[in-house]
Amino acid sequence: MVITFANQKGGTGKTTIAIAFANYLSVNGIGLKVFDCDFQESIHEKYTFDISSGKTPLYDVIYLDHDSIPDVDNLIEMSDSEELFVFDLPGSLDVNYVNLLHYSDYLIIPFEYSDVSMKSTIRFNEFLKVISAESQRIFIRSKFDKGFSYPNKESFDSYLKEEAKYNRQVSIIEHPIYKRNVLQTIDTCSLTYRQKEAVIDAFKQVLELIKTPIVS
């Protein structure tokens, strides 16, 4: 199975959520491999730092540059495999990532309620529609502050609900990923209680959608 964290807007929390997600699956006994496709190598750097600090990462992280991204045949093979492959894409759209967007089993799309993030998320969704991407799209609220009243939140939620209503490929995670400082210090070796608390409700709902049996 291939799960890709993507959004054409940078800074929406893709990498942090991808690490938290991979950690959550790993600590619950699901083996996986993480592929870091972001040129900033954020996950890969954390992984190598963790190893050099004498810690034991929960999974392997492999950095992939433009030329190393799996081709169509490899992606189809990975998708059919019982192994779980998690990809983290950079916050930009590029022709090199189109196959991943198309052939991933699930695209997890974190977004914020900022104006730029909502606009980019709409554009990203329309792009996936026009290329007829086969992947299931899971929209997830990121860095959510429940004490803040976000302008245009309701109208953006209506847009997503409408998308989900007419397109079976679109799902919206009801529980947000909360804005928590503890997520800033996440590594590839563990998921602390406070970190788990920030993501667990959202991840449980994601796992229900992707039908992966997880004992929480």
Partner: protein
């Protein structure tokens, strides 16, 4: 009186002597900007550029010697001697220019992809399945040009949704202006 003239002459000589010393030893040479050496000035300093519309060009009345009547005499009813070879050559050259222009335009449209994007947009607006244009339908890689086309189309299509999401006033919060004493 003699003293006065002596003073004037001495002052005169001193003034020019100081000027010569200044020019020879103190004055710095001004640097010449090489970039401006090829510049040709074709107008006077007070020349001001003007925008001229095509209508003004059409209304320009050139001297009579510029006017060539190729087909008819001045009264319009009597044929003049025609230089058919000259006219044929001129016609061919004009055709060549016209064709060259239209070919260039077509190439430009093809290069920036706007033509293929508008074709995609038309298909989309007509409710056709544009996914048939996607190479991934046949498990092939998307080219950069195709990617740009789809990206442009997605951007165009998303504008309506963006406008809708951001134009619902009931969901916007307005903050009162705060008076600040400075």
């Amino acid at each position: 009186m003699k003293t006065f003239f002596t003073l004037v002459i001495v002052t005169y000589i001193a003034y020019y002597a100081i000027n010569i010393i200044y020019d020879l030893f103190i004055k710095k040479e001004s640097k010449v900007n090489d970039a401006g050496l090829d510049e040709i000035v074709i107008a006077e300093e007070n020349y001001a550029a003007q925008n001229i519309s095509i209508d003004e060009v059409e209304r320009v009345s050139p001297p009579d010697s510029f006017m060539i009547n190729e087909m008819y005499s001045e009264n319009g009813d009597e044929h003049v001697d025609l230089d058919l070879d000259f006219l044929e050559k001129k016609y061919e050259e004009e055709e060549l220019l016209d064709n060259a222009f239209s070919e260039n335009s077509a190439n430009e449209i093809e290069e920036d992809g706007s033509d293929s994007t508008s074709k995609l947009r038309d298909q989309f607006e007509d409710g056709e399945d544009i996914s048939i244009n996607s190479p991934m339908k046949n498990n092939k890689n998307m080219s950069k040009e195709q990617f740009e086309d789809f990206l442009k189309l997605a951007k165009d299509i998303s504008n309506d949704d963006i406008e809708r999401v951001f134009s619902i006033d009931s969901n916007k919060r307005y903050y009162p202006a705060v008076a600040v004493n400075i």
